[in-house]
Each structure stands twice: as C-alpha cells, then as structure tokens.
Symmetry: D2
C-alpha cells in the first residue's frame, strides 16, 4: 500500500494552513455581506482580488510542501508516476 | 453626491452571487476538513484549483455587470475618473 | 464612421511599445537558440517566465491607454457598445 | 558533473518547440506592424492575448517534459535539490 497517499505534514504546518483558511472563510462571509448591503462594486472587486491572492498563497505553500515531501519520497520508492500526477495538477493550476 | 457609489444590481443577480459565495464558503470549510484529516495533498491542491476558478468566476460576473451599469453611467454623468479607478482594479486582477 | 476604430496614441507611446516588442522579439530568438543548444530546461523555463511578464506588461500599458482614450471617447459619443467589447477583451485576458 | 544540466529532448520535440517559437516571433513582428499602422487597440489587445497563450503553451510543454525526464532522473541520482529548483521555477510561473 502506498503510505504516501496520506499527507504527513507536521501539526504546525497544518495549523498555519487552517488559520489561513479560517481567515479566507471570514472574507467570503464578508463578501456576502458586502453584496447584500449594495457595497460599491469596485470595492467588492478589490476585496475578491485579495481573497484570490490569499487562496493562491495557501495553494502555493501546500504545493511546495507536497513536492519536497511526498513527491520526492514516492520517486525514491520507485513510484515514478507521481511526477505525471504532479504535472497534471500543475497544469490545472496554471490555467 | 455620487449615487453610483452604491451598487444597483437587481435582486436576481445578487441572489446568484450569494449562492455562488455560499458554495465557495462550503468548499473552504471542506478544505479545512481535508487538511485536518491528512487527505492526500494532490487531492487538496486540485480542490483549491476548483475553488479558485469559482471565485474568479464570481469576480468576472461582478466586473462585467459593474462595467455595463455603474462605469457606463458615471462616464455619461461626466465622472471620467471612474475609468482610472476601473483600470486600477483590472490591473490588480491581472497580477 | 467611427473615427475611434483607429488608435490615436502619440508617437512617444507607440515608440515605447515598439521598443518593448523589439526586446521581446530578441528574447524569442534567444529562446530558440537556447533550445537548439540544449540549454538546461530550468533556465529556459525561467527565461520564458520573463518574456511572458514583458508581454503582459505591454498588454497592460495598451489596455490602460485604450480605456482612457478610445473607450472614454466612444462612450461620450454614445457608442455604449464599446463597454461590451472591452468586457469581452478583458474576459479573454483573464483566462 | 551533473550530466542533466543539459537538456536531452529528442529532435522531434525540439523541432516542435522551435516551430512554435517561430510562429510567436512572427506574431510579435505582426504586433509591431499593427502599432505602427495605428490598428484599433482592441484588436491588438486580443492579438496579444493569443500570443500570450501560445507562449504559455510552449512553457507548459517544456515544463512537463522537464519534469518527466530531467527532474525524475536527478532525484533517482540522489540530486534531491532539483525539487527545490523546480518548486522555485513553478512559483515564478504562477505569479
């Protein structure tokens, strides 16, 4: 069985990601309130840009951690197809 | 006073955006559960790509509506500086 | 006839864009030489990132100039459909 | 010496990239002619969007080939730091 099909990040790393996602969740709720209150669109657009950057940052952190732990380990274990999986994932991210 | 500094979208448009943001909020909560459960990173990365696309879609819809209502109206009212404001907002979106 | 269907940028602005495009053209030729010389892929990838940023910058400059001249003027002339055209163009840029 | 610091793509792959870059080079020259001829900005903007997509496609092809040859091989050879190098390159691409 491929043990690496679970992630093995340490608690500190996971806590940081959860913290960031909590903040993003709050921002999403804030966006809903802004729309309900007929906030000026330009302000909402700029707020969405901020949330998108925050989400991209979470993804980037997770990608780099994934590459340096799980991807590296799987290749060493002879599971070469992980590089194809990673390539597909990055392709989707680049779209 | 510039009346257009509030948005004037109809209730149906606003309801659609709120619906989309509700779904995104649920996806963010799902991401937190995935991280807590040590879900395989590759699956989380692809899920984040989906959420990013959903958020970009909300922003695009709002941008196009903003341009065709508020921006157009302000220019007709002689408030030319709205085009500079719009340009700045798009510049941030393109980064 | 819609006079604004030609661009009316001043010579200095046009010269700056041409200069930037000349540099980009040189970089594209450089990329071909790198590939022919079997340059290490990572270096080529980073060079393509630079060229992409340079091209995005040309596009951003042109977009902002277009919005503040032609788009503004057309709306003032009652050609409201220019905002739909602009929205379509930005939509393609955001993809 | 790290043999993989040169790329080892086959001639067919390289010929395809060169062909694509030749086309892009022609498009850049076309953009310069458009600017000199005061072509309507909206048409130029859409043309730049096409060139950007073409360049992104070249980069994606090269990235995937790089990952499946050189990156994989270097990790097998114990050169683990290639994954950090790749992560940095992708980080720049995602900006």
């Amino acid at each position: 069985m491929n043990e690496c099909k679970k992630s093995h990040h340490d608690e500190k790393f996971k806590a940081d990601l959860i913290l960031r996602l909590n903040k993003i969740e709050g921002q999403i709720r804030g966006l809903k309130r802004m729309i309900e209150a007929d906030t000026y669109c330009d302000d909402i657009l700029n707020q969405i840009t901020s949330v998108r950057a925050a989400l991209a940052s979470v993804q980037e952190k997770l990608l780099l951690a994934h590459m340096q732990s799980c991807v590296l380990q799987q290749i060493k274990d002879g599971e070469d197809k992980v590089i194809v999986e990673l390539a597909e994932t990055i392709k989707r991210m680049l779209k």
